[in-house]
Symmetry: C2
Subunit: 354 residues, 2 copies
Amino acid sequence: MNVTINDIARATGLSTATISKYINHKKIREENRILIEKAIQELGYTPNRNAQLLRAKNTHTIGILISDLGNYFWGELVNSIIKHFTDHGYTVIVCSFFFEHQKEIDTIQDIISQHFDGVIMLPSCWHDDLYQLLQNAGIPIVMLDQIPASMRHFPVDCVISDNYRGGALLAEHLLEKGHTKVWIMEQYLDSYTIEQRIQGFVDVYQKNGIDLLKQQDSFPPVSFASTAETIIQSNLHFQKLIDSSDPPTAVFFDCYLSAMGGLSAASQARISVPQDISFVCFDDDPLFKTMSATMTCVSQDLTSMGKHAVELLLKRIHGDYTDFPKIDMLDVVFHPRCSVKDLSEHNSTASGKD
Amino acid sequence: MNVTINDIARATGLSTATISKYINHKKIREENRILIEKAIQELGYTPNRNAQLLRAKNTHTIGILISDLGNYFWGELVNSIIKHFTDHGYTVIVCSFFFEHQKEIDTIQDIISQHFDGVIMLPSCWHDDLYQLLQNAGIPIVMLDQIPASMRHFPVDCVISDNYRGGALLAEHLLEKGHTKVWIMEQYLDSYTIEQRIQGFVDVYQKNGIDLLKQQDSFPPVSFASTAETIIQSNLHFQKLIDSSDPPTAVFFDCYLSAMGGLSAASQARISVPQDISFVCFDDDPLFKTMSATMTCVSQDLTSMGKHAVELLLKRIHGDYTDFPKIDMLDVVFHPRCSVKDLSEHNSTASGKD
DNA sequence: CTGAAAGCGCTTACAG
DNA sequence: CTGAAAGCGCTTACAG
């Protein structure tokens, strides 16, 4: 009923072996190539992927292991990964585990038993070391957005934005504008990534003789749950900050979600940005350009991150481990917009830096 | 090297046929079931999916055909579809074609040649009739978010929000608040969905003796391109509206994207919502709660939409076509918030409705 | 470069 | 309910 490689063999008078060679881009005689292409055209043949996968060692299938696609950023990232792998003839399967640890383990077992060629992981936290299961099974993997805590003992390839630099850029901007009292609105995420952003931010202030960590003391970080809950919690947290007797002149949001919480809280409290308080955020979003005070922020290039991850994983799949383990760090971009008030002319404590 | 069904047959002294029956939940003797389960445990066997797929008719694979995952809403929707299909033991493959018509056709050919069990389509426009290719190949499909123009001649199952009702709810609210001069900010999308929203909105005004279409005359709809470009174009469009000699008191955004454009334009033009102008939007978004004037809007339940689509497709896959073609229409929810100014006390032209 | 033949791991009539 | 055997559509040494 369906057109198979046998039909093409029959139609051309060649053997299935030759047809197979053609399909797999191996050398065959020019006149045979023409014959085969004609037959494929006429009969409308497409290789049965399942048969190919069963027979061949590699499955040409890649898994994206991700907690939950419903996150804002991951759409663009996953999109980019799918696009680039598809261009290389791979099938991509998005494997979500919805933050359930057991389900993540099951999913990984599944991937192993199905002999995926490779996996791209978006770890949900710094201490997620499940990637080792994949490595032990001999499946190449690339981690995105996080350098796992177990990296030292179990090296792994990572593609990540320069989070430290991003935090530093934001701090420098705030200092230039004369902001010396800053609150860091931090989501507790067990995240190397977030830590680096904050470290970059804090270090710049430190170098200018200002200890932000001390200012931060009385305000514990927000604890993580679902996306929606994170916003609500960030919101509550932010209101406490505002109601304090000695509020800051600026807030640094460590990620998109904490910014949503802060924005929401400021809106409810009728606090104006940047008149009453200044905001900067790590991560950009279309919404940041639609607010009355467009948000000064640092953006990651998610499309590029996806591309880099695909290229690195492909390299490993092809057996090239010359630069393993590789930390591929991507530049971030600073976007000065309107959410920061310039205090430098009114305030003698402004940083001496230009 | 790998554990196969033969190993289990050998270990238990049974035939592969019996193991296969166990795997496929067919009736086997109780004592054999115990034997098999023990052997599977001990040897760590998992069926080779590719072999199953090659041999069996159904591949237990579902495709989600979508233009581009990088859209805000689709993350949640795709997430929900993946979750529910995975729970039913299916593998889900996200097939993106990035708005390229030829690529969409190629992808569909791929799906057919790989014998997917079913497909969920998110058509990029009303006149996308490529679903017929799938139907002709005997692959069940469910359309989301759109009822295709060719529906009459080529019926197909659809799951869709009650867009007409959503538009009507927004119009009723605006009328209650005394808004009689309204601009509809419409993205040109070749979309039944969008048309229904606007129709619902316009009809309510019509019933109250107000012809919005006439007001709208001089302002052509925005034409569609990429997400980013849509925002920019909506933005320009909106500025024209504002600069007109006889501006409206309220704007109805037909979707999230046009709202982004309008919000951005209002921000740049230093126009305050709802003091200077009122906004309502079809579609909700977390950002709408973070603005200084939280957005009054109507929301769709995307998670539920995904679930309904999965259930309907599963029914078709199992051969139950008793209610074909089915239009499964989902309720929308109205969220009154702060972006609409109450004109009814100052304005004698307010609607008589309560 | 080409072809004959074995086999990937499973399922499915068929006979018992 | 169970087993022997064929076969799904392809790829891969191997010999020519």
